[in-house]
Symmetry: C2
Subunit: 244 residues, 2 copies
């Protein structure tokens, strides 16, 4: 009899930013599948569960392994940080699950989480509202498509949360994105570099579009380009429009 798969977003960083649904899914799982640091992120929820750690490059295999375990009858939690659907494991895992014949297909739930963009915003004020999330990774799709998104967003007043801004091998993409943005946005546009947001050792630096030091950006950094209507309110940055 098929088991069940929970695709779980653990939220950014520390346990307090997890949802109750995420905690339940991990606690009740028989097997927890995840890249090592994500498994560590929910270490306090682990007891008798079997643990399957993957390697960073192995997202697809990990998704498939989680689905196979669930198809074989296990209750599986596939964990990643943030929200599972925002550049997380959900798309890969659902595609793998769809490939399983219906009579063997496990029950699947996607458990949403707090995504890095809103967690970062909360640390500096309320600078989002109208905003876009864009991944700068060109590993799974051509850079032209990524660049087209940035170019279309540049002349707008939307804030931008740039996920996957940089890796060991992808070093120039963030600089190029900033160049495109600078064709339409002011040099002093505030940019937040949020590394390990939500963790005890989080580091949030404010810089500008013109002076951003891409060497300060790591794989675990979220880059948030604030919109032109953001203003200072005491120690906080907030959008100039209110609730609507």
């Amino acid at each position: 009899m098929p088991g069940a798969l929970s695709i779980v977003g653990l939220g950014p960083g520390r346990g307090e930013l997890r949802t109750g649904a995420a905690e339940r899914a991990v606690r009740e799982a028989q097997v927890v599948v995840g890249y090592g640091p994500y498994v560590d992120q929910c270490a306090d929820l682990l007891g008798g569960q079997r643990i399957e750690r993957g390697t960073m490059g192995g997202e697809e295999e990990r998704a498939r392994a989680a689905v196979e375990l669930a198809a074989a009858g296990e209750r599986v939690a596939l964990v990643s940080s943030g929200d599972a659907g925002i550049f997380g494991m959900a798309a890969l895992a659902l595609r793998a699950a769809a490939g399983v014949p219906e009579d063997r297909r496990p029950a699947v739930e996607v458990v949403p989480g707090v995504t890095a963009a809103t967690a970062t915003a909360a640390r500096i004020g309320a600078p989002l509202g109208d905003f876009a999330t864009v991944s700068l990774s060109d590993v799974l799709e051509p850079w032209e498509r990524v660049e087209a998104r940035i170019a279309a967003l540049a002349p707008t007043d939307l804030a931008l949360a740039l996920y996957n801004p940089r890796s060991r091998t992808r070093t120039w993409q963030l600089g190029r994105a900033c160049e495109i943005l600078l064709e339409h946005r002011a040099p002093d546009t505030v940019v937040a570099l949020a590394t390990d947001v939500g963790r005890d050792d989080e580091r949030i630096e404010l810089t500008t579009l013109a002076t951003i030091d891409v060497e300060r950006v790591a794989m675990r950094t979220l880059v948030v380009v604030l919109g032109p209507h953001v203003e200072r309110a005491g120690p906080w940055l907030v959008t100039a429009r209110g609730r609507s």
Copy 2:
């Protein structure tokens, strides 16, 4: 001595989608301030706290009241649903707090939450990734600005999460937004109408850009216009690109 203000996003709907940080902030508060339905959303966390319910139109007064109570020495939780920074109470409350002289200003934290966009996505698969959130409300800013955002996003391949799509008095904005989108996007573009997402009585309907019935959209509905790269995978809708 000034007290403390927590601006809390309760997540969408049921308690299981709240973070531990949100629950702690409400439990430890001396006063909980919020529009009635949001206070009800955390009823299970209420014991001895004083409750200050507001009316829907009174966001600004509520934000100011919460700040004043905190400035007077109380531990206050100002609650709203979803994420406090995404068309929630954070911007208003932070602006009110900034108006308090520094020696009276309470400590303030913003507690992020799961926003309706990712909760909706989780219910139908993994259709987001690169996406934009846009409020269709023209209560606090001119409609031209809202329309300019939609027009700039229409030719892109970003999914769109349309917040505040409709109210008793704002009845034509969603139809106009769809018209603009149809100039660039296919008539059969999938649109999800998610009403009361995350609650036990949530209602998620799939329709298309050409056939959307705006009468099915309530104030508590999130409208998600999926991107052109979304495809069916078994019973789920997922973005065609994977993790990056």
